[in-house]
Symmetry: C2
Subunit: 334 residues, 2 copies
DNA sequence: AGCTCTAATGAATACGTAACCATTTTATAT
DNA sequence: ATATAAAATGGTTACGTATTCATTAGAGCT
């Protein structure tokens, strides 16, 4: 790979490397005639400045690392789009990593190897040591979707309220046998949503049935297993409260392929209100942010602010939620 | 941002910077006792090598730029996942950009600003000048999904055959009034698929109806407009051949929200066989690669090969296709 | 012409790493 | 003990840029 440097341009234009640099960064300081010479040389040699070298001296990389959950979860489709696009519009490039909880720490260390201007994380655990590590390294970062037990630097929806509203919606439709299929309780999102679910049951004096409760690893297989176990219950639940839209989509898939009709045979509600849930073929009833703000977008805005103002403010954003009524929930049949 | 460098580690451990570098890169060349000292210092100062500085001297960035289409097209969900994950497994980071055709050149120039080890493009136009530009810069690259008129360095499915099979499938179900809703003909994918569609009609002696043919800009709005125009035809088509699964999903959404039943009232077939098309609620009949290889995965494998072997082979991969029969197409009612 | 002030340019250096070459230390053979 | 080879370490430099400081050219004035 032949690389043409600013020195080559300088030699070709008969000026110093400094002047070449000036033409690109502070063009007002250089005479028009010189500028022309240099620009011509740049054109002719098709010179492109090396962003790596620049970041070495400027101590600014223009790169943000995104540790996102996997894209087969449509929530991360929406957020990744918002994050990458907003960052690009503001002159940042985004290194994207799709992380699963199993090899979280590998992902972290590989991400830290590279000096970046900031990091944005979706997959932090409640008591993840990465939190303190990033703070010690004084690298700007923010979490979205999930949050750390420290309750700092996060953007989320009101997860407990979301779980509560989801369950209460089903209760108000007359359901009593309401299952919960969520994700691991080591992440704030599922933990709080599950708390909300329990709170709603309690409020309406419905006794929790341990056979109805599944904390999956949010993999397709594990969710399918939960669904099958539910179908094998003696008292099949008439409704399922899903810990996330992605879980709901998987459950819908399982229900449909075992011949069940939604919502006639079973009601399913999600949480997140991802774009896909509004598709005509899905029409998933779900709970999501009232403002319909994209959490990724909120997070990246704040992160870039932190980077550019160079101060580490405390960011705690919790979006209020409501039910988005669609066609996967219906009154209980008797 | 305080940065601790290998010099700091060296001073702390009482060795030279060279030795620190050696401990990390060629540990066999350094005595155990020294190694311990250095590793201890690294630990204590929580030193992390600066990948930028390294790439400056090694002339290798470990970064690949991905110019992908937007994620609301599920095809790019599948490919982006495959590309990012495979690249990460092989020690590369991926700068992701989501490009729309309107501001393609902006995206290019911003991407080129940064020296990267390779580029992978989904959105190249048939006669895109970027092709020659990248070749001149001798930066390894490959295109997937679409290809350039030069017919080099691409991974695709057999698009003409795909269009042909899609249309013929509808014809064999008894349909004669078959619409085409695709994307711009300036991209190879849609151009060739449309050719296949026409070929099938011709083979079965069905006359093309210009009122049935729409080359949209693949935006939601434009597709909706096409759908509405089709519904306003005097002879409504009984089936639609979509230029891509993403188009098909949009059409399904339009059909369902205007009260039509699929496939009873209208048959819809896609091309790409994206993961989502197999979801229970979608069950989109579509045409896709026989091997079900992910095009993104094929492309990134080849790209990394090119990077590491440092030779620019000619890559032309065209995957054979077949129909994946699901539930959005049915016999024509009379 | 001589002076001052500003505009325009260049030389030298730092950034953090790996590579190259030189040197010192240690082990092995005579 | 000495010579010789091998192992281990250090000094210096290059990578491509932006920055700092020094210098030169030119404009405007008396």
């Amino acid at each position: 790979m032949i690389v043409v440097s600013s020195k080559d341009v300088a030699k070709h234009a008969g000026v110093s490397q400094t002047t070449v640099s000036r033409v690109l960064n502070t063009p007002d300081l250089v005479k028009q005639k010189t500028k022309d010479k240099v620009l011509k040389a740049i054109e002719k040699l098709s010179y492109v400045p090396d962003a790596n070298a620049r970041s070495l001296v400027q101590k600014k990389t223009g790169v943000i690392t995104l540790l996102s959950g996997p894209l087969h979860n449509p929530f991360f489709v929406d957020t990744t789009t918002a994050i990458v696009n907003y960052a690009n519009e503001n002159g940042y490039r985004v290194n994207v990593h799709f992380v699963n909880d199993k090899k979280l720490s590998e992902a972290y260390s590989s991400a830290i190897e590279n000096k970046v201007d900031g990091m944005i994380l979706s997959c932090i655990l409640l008591d993840d040591p990465i939190f303190e590590r990033l703070k010690r390294m004084s690298i700007p970062f923010i979490t979205y979707n999930r949050k750390h037990k420290n309750e700092e630097l996060f953007v989320e929806i009101d997860n407990e309220e979301a779980g509560f509203l989801a369950a209460e919606h089903l209760i108000q439709l007359g359901h009593k046998d309401i299952a919960w299929v969520g994700g691991p309780l080591t992440v704030s999102t599922f933990k709080n949503r599950f708390e909300g679910y329990k709170k709603a049951l309690k409020k309406h004096r419905i006794i929790e049935n341990p056979l109805y409760i599944f904390h999956t690893d949010s993999s397709k297989n594990d969710i399918q297993k939960a669904f099958e176990d539910l179908q094998n219950c003696i008292n099949k639940p008439t409704a399922i409260c899903s810990g996330a839209d992605s879980v709901a989509f998987n459950l819908m898939n399982n229900a449909l392929s075992s011949g069940l009709k939604i919502p006639e045979d079973i009601s399913i509600i999600g949480i997140d209100n991802v774009d896909l849930s509004n598709h005509g073929a899905m029409q998933l009833t779900t709970v999501g942010s009232i403002t319909e703000n994209n959490l990724g977008r909120l997070a990246i805005e704040k992160l870039i602010e932190m980077i550019e103002l160079e101060k580490s403010t405390c960011i705690q954003i919790t979006e209020s939620v409501k039910v988005f009524l669609r066609n996967t929930t219906a009154k209980r049949k008797d």
